[in-house]
Each structure stands twice: as structure tokens, then as C-alpha cells.
């Protein structure tokens, strides 16, 4: 087991390097430091000295990948790609391009509000989807099932933006149950969190229920279910004890696949509800065209995804002992 985990982690290293090189090429080669300087300093009336000065200040005054002016190892190390990529490996993100804020400090401050929204949305969303999907799978073939599927498709077809704008308008403005947006520290943040979490759960439930329903139905068609019924087990025991266990693999896969969507969701959620988390940090950076921050967030997101992948593979072996990667 330990050997398997170590090997799985080693597989992740080339992918992390690949992500770094790809974003490095994209941000520092295709989009040259001169472009960046011009965007930050203003398009017009920028002198060549000002651009050079800005580049020196932010460490963009080196060649991209190979420094022919240096000798030996420094040929590689004294370059933008090396200087800006390698520190990422130990989460040293440097300072932002525009306002010189320490990105790492900003992230460690903003990660908690993000977690406070994303974690309950994610867990409650998955639990609710599982419960509802089991319910419709249990009632399969009845009107409840048919209408449940229709309701899911309808819910999936509604834009997340509609849920957010409509929810803010209905619960925040008309009913005045929750504040429309904002954030506070500690326990006071709770009243600001309820609305985004509820909306996040509602907007994810349609797709979730529909997906898990097909997973459960597929399992229900298998032979071991017939056997379980034939030996007189009740439908509930069949569903919750036998089918549930066997459906764990597709469920787990789907959970990991939706981790990047956490990112996606938090981008708009946080900016609509003015929650000072990573999502709104990223949106602000996008609008300010601050590539240092965007790159840090891309890197962080990829790490999260890779960790998720490794964790699913490990949990596969826990859920299904037959899976043993050699």
C-alpha cells in the first residue's frame, strides 16, 4: 500500500512540472514581459526606460529559458522560467505584478472564507444528491421517478447565474431573510454564508441526482442484486447495503471530477456575494490583468486536482480490494 501511494505520488511530479512549463510559456513567452509592463504601466506614453525599470523590479529582465550570458548551471537558473517556476514548488508565489502584495500571505488569509463557502456547498451538495438519487432509484418506474428525472433536467438547464441573481433577489431583497452580500469574521459570518451555500447546493443538485441515479440503476440491474432479493432481503437493505457499496467507485470518481468545479463555482459565487476569498481574488486579478496572481491560482488549482486524483486512486483500493495497481 505504502509503495503504491509513493509511486502514485511520483507519477504526479512530471504533471506538476508540465503544468509549470505550460503556464510559464503561456504567461512569460507568448505574452512577453514587455507586453505585461505596457499593460500595467498604461498603454500609451510609456518610455523604454520605464518598461526596463518595471521588468527589473519584478524580476522579468532575464531571458526566457536559456541565458547565454551565463556559464554552467546558471545558464538555466538565471532565466524567467526557472526563477518564476521553481519557487512555486514550495508555494513561494512572490509578489503581485500590480500592487506588490505578497501573494502567499494574501492566499493564506483568503483561503478560509473560500473554504467556509466551498466545503459546506460541496459536502451538502453531494449528500443531498446521493439521498435524492437513492430515493428516485428506490421508486424507479413510478411517477415520482419519472417526474424526478424531468425536474433534474429542468434544474440542470437553468443557468447558475439565474439561481444566484434570483436567490439574492428573492431571499435577500424581497423576504429580507439574509443579507444580500458581504462577509464578517468568526460566528457572524454564518448569516452571510447560508445563502451562497443554499444556492450552490440547489444549482448542483439537478446534475448530481441524475448522474447518481443512472449509477444506482446500473448496479440494480446486476446479478448480485437478484441474488440478494432471492434470498429474501428487503429492498432497502439491498439498496443501502449492497448497491451503495458497489456504486462507490463511480460516485468517488464523480466527486473528484467535480473538484475543479469547486474552483469554477467559487469564482462567481464569491464575487456575487462579496466574499473575500480566493475566487474574488482571482476575478480581481483577471480584471487587473495581474499575471503573477493568475499563475499562482492556476498552479494552486492544478495541485488541488492532482491531489484529488491521487486520493481517488487510493480510495479505490480501499473501496474495492480487487483493485491493486502493480
Amino acid at each position: 500500500m505504502a509503495r503504491y501511494i509513493i509511486r502514485r505520488l511520483l507519477y504526479a511530479i512530471p504533471i506538476i512540472i508540465g503544468v509549470n512549463i505550460l503556464t510559464g510559456i503561456l504567461f512569460f513567452y507568448v505574452n512577453t514581459p514587455d507586453d505585461m509592463a505596457r499593460k500595467i504601466l498604461g498603454e500609451k506614453n510609456v518610455t523604454a526606460e520605464a518598461i526596463e525599470g518595471w521588468k527589473r523590479e519584478h524580476g522579468y529582465d532575464l531571458p526566457f529559458a536559456i541565458n547565454s550570458g551565463e556559464d554552467g548551471v546558471e545558464k538555466i537558473t538565471q532565466t524567467i522560467l526557472f526563477q518564476k517556476s521553481v519557487p512555486l514548488l514550495w508555494f513561494d508565489f512572490g509578489t503581485s505584478d500590480r500592487e506588490n502584495v505578497d501573494i502567499k500571505e494574501e492566499i493564506s488569509r483568503r483561503i478560509w472564507p473560500s473554504f467556509a463557502v466551498a466545503l459546506p456547498t460541496f459536502t451538502i451538495g453531494i449528500l443531498a444528491s446521493l439521498v435524492f438519487s437513492m430515493l428516485v432509484a428506490f421508486m424507479r418506474g413510478t411517477y415520482l421517478d419519472a417526474w424526478g428525472v424531468v425536474a433534474c433536467v429542468v434544474m440542470m438547464s437553468i443557468s447558475t447565474l439565474f439561481y444566484i441573481i434570483g436567490g439574492q433577489y428573492f431571499f435577500g431583497k424581497l423576504l429580507k431573510l439574509f443579507p444580500v452580500s458581504g462577509y464578517d469574521t468568526g460566528i457572524h459570518s454564518l448569516k452571510f454564508l447560508i445563502l451562497p451555500v443554499v444556492i450552490g447546493v440547489i444549482s448542483s443538485i439537478g446534475g448530481g441526482v441524475r448522474f447518481y441515479r443512472t449509477v444506482f440503476l446500473e448496479e440494480l440491474g446486476k446479478d448480485y442484486v437478484k441474488t440478494a432479493r432471492a434470498k429474501g432481503l428487503s429492498e432497502a437493505v439491498v439498496l443501502f447495503k449492497h448497491v451503495m457499496k458497489n456504486a462507490m467507485i463511480p460516485v468517488l470518481t464523480n466527486v473528484v471530477v467535480s473538484i475543479p468545479f469547486l474552483f469554477y463555482g467559487s469564482l462567481i459565487m464569491e464575487s456575487f456575494f462579496s466574499i473575500p476569498g480566493l475566487g474574488s481574488f482571482t476575478i480581481n486579478a483577471i480584471n487587473a490583468q495581474d499575471f503573477a496572481i493568475v499563475r499562482a491560482m492556476v498552479y494552486l488549482g492544478s495541485i488541488l486536482y492532482i491531489i484529488g486524483l491521487v486520493m481517488t486512486d487510493i480510495s479505490y483500493t480501499l473501496v474495492d480490494p480487487r483493485i491493486r495497481f502493480e
Partner: protein, 391 residues
């Protein structure tokens, strides 16, 4: 003088593809016939198909455009001193021409659906002297089915213009990525070894970057320039008659780059299975070259995956466009899109009383595309995917 945009090609391609598909279905051939039979047997799917065809036709009408020559009052075509005809800088599509009145009937600012007066009070001077504050009458009362927006444009027309953008994003992204997904998926699956390793490594790396951030990065770098709808400048025309450098097109390409990995993975898996089948082995034994086998035996047998992915991704992409426009990296501001409509109108909801019709228009039009697309996608998947067949 016709203007054909890169995204127009996507719409034409979609149109030709649909015609081809229908002709196959009528000839009772292959998968197309299976899909048609499934849709015929399901009233909901049939209705959805009709709705999709209607949307497709509107998008097509909005993709055939040309510039008119400028004429004076007598109808004489204006020419430059070198005898070249002067054209109106803004190309109008068939849709624009059908709704030319809606384009031109612009009010001053907001007005409610089918209202006779503006939505905000103004100081009006009465003919006999005194001034009052009241709602001034509209220039075109009762004609705006969904009211007007902040600058007085007709919301119904704006929502109609959003159809083309929605269809182009939903279908174009997949059209752009299909060749790459098939090529890399089949190569990886058929040849295996180091080719497989490289391709697998590439798509794992790409898919581990959060899609939305990759789109953001690409759009920040490549997508800021280009034709955004509206007036065609000389710079656009200088590229060629086809204004290829178009922001909407880049958005499709970029979303394609970030979304080909799933299809590629599916095709690779299917090819791995197909490679071991008897008829492929027989082909190899008879000395067919690898490429011939791929073209004759493998590619035709993965087309159902392509079709299923295309219809399944469609609705998600339409919804994603709205979100990207909200973040500020979607299509250009001049290109009519539901995302832009929502983005511009969302602050107006907090007015007293609130302006809801712009949002409602965009959301309803979007919903009426995405819901049929979802139902249609289910029908196609049920007809083509053996796993779902007969359920």
C-alpha cells in the same frame, strides 16, 4: 458585399452536418436512423428537436450577412473618386434585415414590456408653460415585447441576437476540437507505446489545470483583440474578406483546447477495445497499413462517441458562455450575447421598482435552448450508447 466570419463557417458546417444527418436518416442508414427512430418515439424529444431546429435556423439567418452600398436620396450608389463603391461599414445579417424596425426603434432608456411610457420620470414641459414630472410617452409605444434596456434598445431583439452566439459557442467549441480529439485519441489507442505515453501525459497535464483558469489565461493573452461585432474596420478587412480574427472564434478555439481531453480519453479507450477485434486483426493480417485500418475500421466506429459528446457538451458550453461573459473574458461587448445581457442588467434588479425584463429575456431564451438541448442529448445518447439502449 458579403462578409463571412470564421464563426459563420461553424454555423454553415453545423447546417451541412445536420442536412447530411437527416439525409442519412431518411435513407434509413446507420446511426442517424437509430437516432431518428428514438426521437420519433418520444414526444418530448420530438418537441425538443423542433425547438432546436428553430434556434438553428435563427442562428443561420444571423450568420448570412453582407454590407450594403451607400446610396444618396435618389438611390444612386455612392462611389469614391477611383470609382469604387462605398459600402456601409456595418454588415447586416438576414435576421437584422427582418427585424430592421426593431433595430432602429430605439427609445431613450428603460421601458417595461409593451409599455406606452418610459420607465423613469422626466421633467416634461407642457405646451402652455408649466413643467411637470411624469413618465414621458415612448416614441414607439406598445411595440417592445420585452421592453427596452438602459440605452433604449429592444430587449427581445437583443435576446434574438444572443441565439447565434449561444449556438456558435455550444457547437463551435466541439467542432473545433473534434479533429484533434479523434486524431490523438485514435493514435494513442492504436499505436500505444511511446505515442500513447506522450498523448496521455499531454491530456493529463492539460486537464489538471482548472478549465476556467486556462480559458482565462488564454483569453487574457490572445483574445483581447479582434472583430467584436458591429462595425467592420479597414484593419479587419485587410486580413482578407473573411474576418478571421474574431473574438468569438478565439473563444471557441480556446474552450476547445481546454475541453478536448475528455473526448480524447473516451476515443482512446474505445480504440484500445476495437484494436483487438477480429475484423481489425483480419485487416492487419491481410496487410492493410495502419492508417488504412484506422480510417476504414476505427474512425467509423468511434463516431457515436463524438456525436454523444457533442450533444452532451452543448448545453454546458452555452451556460459557460454566460459565466465567462460575467467574468469579463467572454465574447466582446458588441457581440450580442445572453451573458452580456445578464451582466449589464444584473445591477438594475436592485432599482426600485426593479428592472427585471432584460434578465428575464436572457434567462428564458437561454433556458429554451439549453432544456431542449439536454433532452435531445439524452435521446441521442439513449439511441447510440449500448449501455443506455433499451432503458
Amino acid at each position: 458585399m458579403p462578409i463571412i466570419l470564421a464563426t459563420d463557417f461553424i454555423v454553415y458546417l453545423l447546417f451541412i452536418g445536420a442536412l447530411f444527418f437527416v439525409s442519412l436518416a431518411i435513407k434509413r442508414q446507420g446511426k442517424a436512423f437509430d437516432v431518428l427512430r428514438r426521437i420519433k418515439g418520444n414526444r418530448l424529444a420530438a418537441l425538443s428537436t423542433i425547438a432546436l431546429v428553430a434556434y438553428g435556423l435563427i442562428a443561420f439567418c444571423d450568420s448570412v450577412r453582407w454590407r450594403d452600398a451607400i446610396t444618396d436620396e435618389k438611390g444612386v450608389v455612392q462611389k469614391t473618386e477611383y470609382g469604387k463603391t462605398i459600402f456601409n461599414p456595418e454588415p447586416l445579417s438576414i435576421l437584422d434585415r427582418v427585424f430592421i424596425k426593431k433595430r432602429e426603434e430605439v427609445e431613450k432608456t428603460f421601458s417595461a414590456p409593451l409599455a406606452d411610457t418610459l420607465f423613469v420620470k422626466e421633467t416634461i414641459e407642457l405646451p402652455d408653460g408649466p413643467t411637470i414630472r411624469d413618465y414621458p410617452p415612448l416614441k414607439y409605444p406598445g411595440t417592445h415585447l420585452l421592453g427596452t434596456d438602459k440605452v433604449g434598445g429592444d430587449v427581445f431583439f437583443a435576446a434574438l441576437k444572443g441565439i447565434r452566439t449561444g449556438v456558435v459557442i455550444g457547437a463551435g467549441t466541439t467542432v473545433v476540437m473534434i479533429p484533434f480529439a479523434i486524431l490523438f485519441g485514435v493514435l494513442a489507442g492504436y499505436y500505444g507505446k511511446w505515442i500513447d505515453d506522450i498523448i496521455q501525459y499531454t491530456y493529463t497535464t492539460l486537464s489538471s489545470i482548472p478549465g476556467v483558469l486556462l480559458i482565462v489565461a488564454f483569453m487574457l493573452i490572445f483574445g483581447t483583440e479582434g472583430y467584436q461585432g458591429g462595425i467592420v474596420t479597414d484593419k479587419d478587412l485587410a486580413l482578407s474578406i473573411f474576418v478571421l480574427n474574431e473574438r468569438l472564434f478565439w473563444l471557441c478555439v480556446i474552450m476547445g483546447i481546454t475541453s478536448w481531453t475528455d473526448l480524447c480519453r473516451l476515443i482512446r479507450g474505445e480504440t484500445l477495445k476495437l484494436r483487438e477485434l477480429e475484423y481489425v486483426q483480419a485487416g492487419r493480417a491481410f496487410g492493410s497499413s495502419g492508417l488504412a485500418i484506422i480510417w476504414r475500421h476505427i474512425v467509423p466506429n468511434v463516431t457515436h462517441l463524438v456525436l454523444i459528446t457533442m450533444v452532451l457538451q452543448f448545453s454546458g458550453l452555452v451556460l459557460a458562455e454566460a459565466i465567462l461573459s460575467y467574468i469579463g473574458i467572454g465574447v466582446g461587448a458588441e457581440t450580442g450575447s445572453w451573458g452580456n445581457m445578464i451582466n449589464n442588467a444584473r445591477l438594475e434588479l436592485s432599482r426600485e421598482p426593479s428592472v427585471w425584463w432584460s434578465l428575464a429575456g436572457a434567462f428564458v431564451f437561454m433556458f429554451c435552448l439549453v432544456l431542449p438541448a439536454n433532452i435531445f442529448a439524452d435521446a441521442v445518447r439513449d439511441a447510440l450508447d449500448p449501455k443506455f439502449r433499451g432503458k
